[in-house]
Amino acid sequence: MNLIVNDNGFSKDDWNGGFSALNDARPDVGIDLATSSDPGELQGRLDDISIIRVIFPNFSDGRGFTIARCLRLMGYNGRLRAAGHVIADQYAMARRAGFDEIEIAGAIAERQPEADWRFRANWREHDYQSRLRGRIPF
């Protein structure tokens, strides 16, 4: 079973609506986005979406961070989740880029236990971005 990570550590997934790809989007079902998608395609539809999940095929594919940020800049206020191959060391980046939470598989959680993720729960601190912008970017 996959786990959800946020600032409080690990928890069970409380989203029961499931996910579908963008082209068969239905109300009350979450949207799955590949890192190759163009966030611009969601323009005008963001108000109707309650959760978006960006799937990282590999932790070194950093497009997901820019996608998250673009979605937030386009005005998306719903739940935003990173999933797939994300590692604990990316937790702070994910949060700062606009994700609310990370979904990880059990295999990742085994090697990277809760403490590794909690280690970066201080992501609001030591952040050059909020210092240079003068406000939280979103």
Partner: protein, 553 residues
């Protein structure tokens, strides 16, 4: 000079705390090498041929004496007593042990230094003109902008896993000494209607597909600078190719999509991003600028300088090559050559580093610079102090009078250290430098640049004479290019023809130089000027025609 504020200091301490833990997790096996790799790279730690290598940032090439002394200590304590200064204003330590690296990083933090983002697929150490704040031809000091960009790019959450590395350079003068057209983004400070702004160049780079950067915006104002640069990197992050690492740099993205398309995407993204800046960065920029305000220059007589210049021919020749024009009367910019004949270009021992630190403290406003040409600069010295400085340099093997001459060679580490190398580059540089030692004053200005593989870390494309070491069926083979130019008139060198084996490359370079000496109009015509006038033919013939080839050997 900029000193870390509380925020910077805490940031680096926190970052070191994280890295120490990552090293522990790697040693215990909880991080795979695949996962550890980008994390160590983000902290400047490479795996080379024989050992780890730690690459330390010298942001915009500026150092004070305390920092230089600490580099000397680190080299002694955790390395073999020397360091290597690179073309990107970094220093590399070639022999650290993994478990020592967190301690080395703490030692750096004690003097406001770090190794953050000196490697990996992220925005690298921002480089700038090494004469910043001292040059007579400057519109504005580029270092405040470089520092602002350093802060902005450090740990930028969107840009730690880019398609590939991303390099930014800033020049504050129309005479480009920072090679801004060969960077992913080059920033030139310009003035329009009395206002300072930035000309942004994108898509330059060397490597296997060298490209000269293109202007993406002619004039970006201070308040738009960060969101504009952010928009460029952000657009490339989504668009840049991740299927082929040889096609992932922004130069290829710009080439494949065209600069107009990229420009319009950037402008669109910029409109979104500018709203996230409240304007506080302007205030920060002003504070940073104040920290870089120039020292007070005094009026001092240059009498002692004139006297030594007239009476000591060794000093005279050093002064003629190693000094550059300072903006203040009675002052000079003194360059310390790390290219002693026959030595490794860019290497300095701990003793030499300490000597340079002492001189900076005593005579140089406590400032040192590292140039992309792998030399050290004392940016503000009184001319009257130069005889004393010169005699100290002599004692430490640092008085080589060859800045800008044939033996002032840029060479990458090549096969002696680098895991990617296809040929040696350091020994070629050493042999050329020994060969031309007695001829180089006669030759005059000449830029020779050597890379040990197609990645072009030695900037060979931009050398008047460029040398690229390849591997042909297990044998080293060196290709020559001619006519490269690293200034504002950036040009890529053209290949002369087939390459030369290791024992034939130095005689080949010699033939090029003898041909130049024979054909130049007068001693005022430099190699590159003669090449531009004469074209490739006479040089090609010197390289490949049997008659010439035999005559010179």
């Amino acid at each position: 000079m900029y000193n870390y504020n509380d925020f910077d200091a805490k940031f680096v301490a926190e970052r070191n705390r994280q890295f120490r833990r990552q090293v522990e997790r790697r040693i215990s096996g909880n991080l795979s090498e695949e996962e550890f790799k980008p994390l160590r790279l983000m902290n400047g730690l490479y795996l080379q041929l024989h050992a780890y290598m730690l690459r330390v940032a010298i942001p915009y090439g500026t150092l004070n004496s305390r920092q230089m002394r600490q580099l000397a200590n680190i080299a002694e304590r955790w390395d073999k007593g020397y360091g290597h200064f690179t073309t990107r204003q970094n220093i590399q330590f070639n022999w650290p042990k993994l478990r020592d690296v967190p301690d080395m990083l703490d030692a750096l933090a004690e003097v406001d230094m770090h190794a953050i983002q000196t490697s990996g697929n992220t925005i690298r150490n921002v480089t700038a003109d090494h004469f910043a704040g001292a040059a007579a031809d400057e519109i504005a000091d580029p270092r405040p902008v470089a520092e602002l960009l350093r802060q902005w790019s450090t740990d930028h959450p969107e840009f730690q896993f880019l398609p590939r590395k991303f390099k930014i350079a800033v020049s504050g003068s129309p005479n480009d000494r920072a090679v801004i057209r060969a960077h992913d983004i080059g920033i030139g400070i310009v003035k329009r209607d009395g206002r300072i702004g930035y000309c942004i160049i994108a898509g330059g780079g060397l490597g296997r597909t060298p490209m000269i950067g293109k202007v993406i915006s002619e004039f970006v104002t201070q308040e738009n600078l960060l969101p504009y640069v952010e928009a460029v990197v952000s657009v490339w992050n989504l668009l840049g190719r991740r299927d082929n690492k040889y096609k992932s740099r922004i130069k290829i993205t710009v080439h494949e999509h065209g600069i107009e398309k990229i420009r319009s995407l950037v402008e669109e993204r910029f409109e979104l991003l500018r709203r996230t800046y409240s304007g506080i960065d302007i205030k920060l920029f002003e504070e940073i600028t104040a920290a870089f305000s120039p020292p007070e220059f005094q009026k001092v007589s240059a009498g002692e300088f004139e006297l030594a210049y007239k009476s000591d021919p060794v000093f005279e020749s050093w002064a003629d090559t190693n000094l550059a024009k300072h903006r203040a009367e009675g002052y000079a910019i003194a360059q310390i050559s790390l290219k002693a004949h026959g030595q490794t270009p860019g290497d300095a021992t701990s003793d030499q580093m300490r000597a340079m630190a002492d001189m900076a403290e005593e005579y140089g406003n406590d400032e040192l610079r590292i140039s992309h040409e792998q030399n050290v600069v004392l940016p503000h010295v009184r001319k009257s102090d130069l005889p004393a400085i010169h005699s100290i340099l002599k004692k430490h093997g640092l008085a080589t009078a060859n800045i800008g001459l044939a033996s002032d060679i840029i060479a990458c580490p090549g096969m002696d250290y680098c895991a990617l190398a296809t040929a040696r580059s350091i020994p070629v540089a050493q042999d050329i430098s020994n060969l031309l030692k007695n001829l180089e004053d006669e030759i005059g200005e000449l830029k020779i640049k050597i890379s040990g593989c197609i990645n072009a870390c030695g900037h060979h494309h931009l050398g008047h004479i460029g040398i690229l070491g390849l591997d042909r069926a297990g044998v080293e083979n060196y290709q020559i290019t001619l006519g490269g130019d690293a200034t504002q008139n950036t040009a890529l060198g053209r290949r002369t023809g087939p390459g030369f084996s290791h024992d034939k490359i130095v005689p080949a370079v010699e033939r090029l130089i003898l041909t130049y000496l024979e054909l130049r109009e007068n001693s005022g015509e430099t190699f590159i000027e003669a090449y531009r006038r004469l074209g490739m033919e006479p040089f090609k013939s010197a390289l490949y025609d049997r008659v010439h080839a035999h005559a010179a050997e």
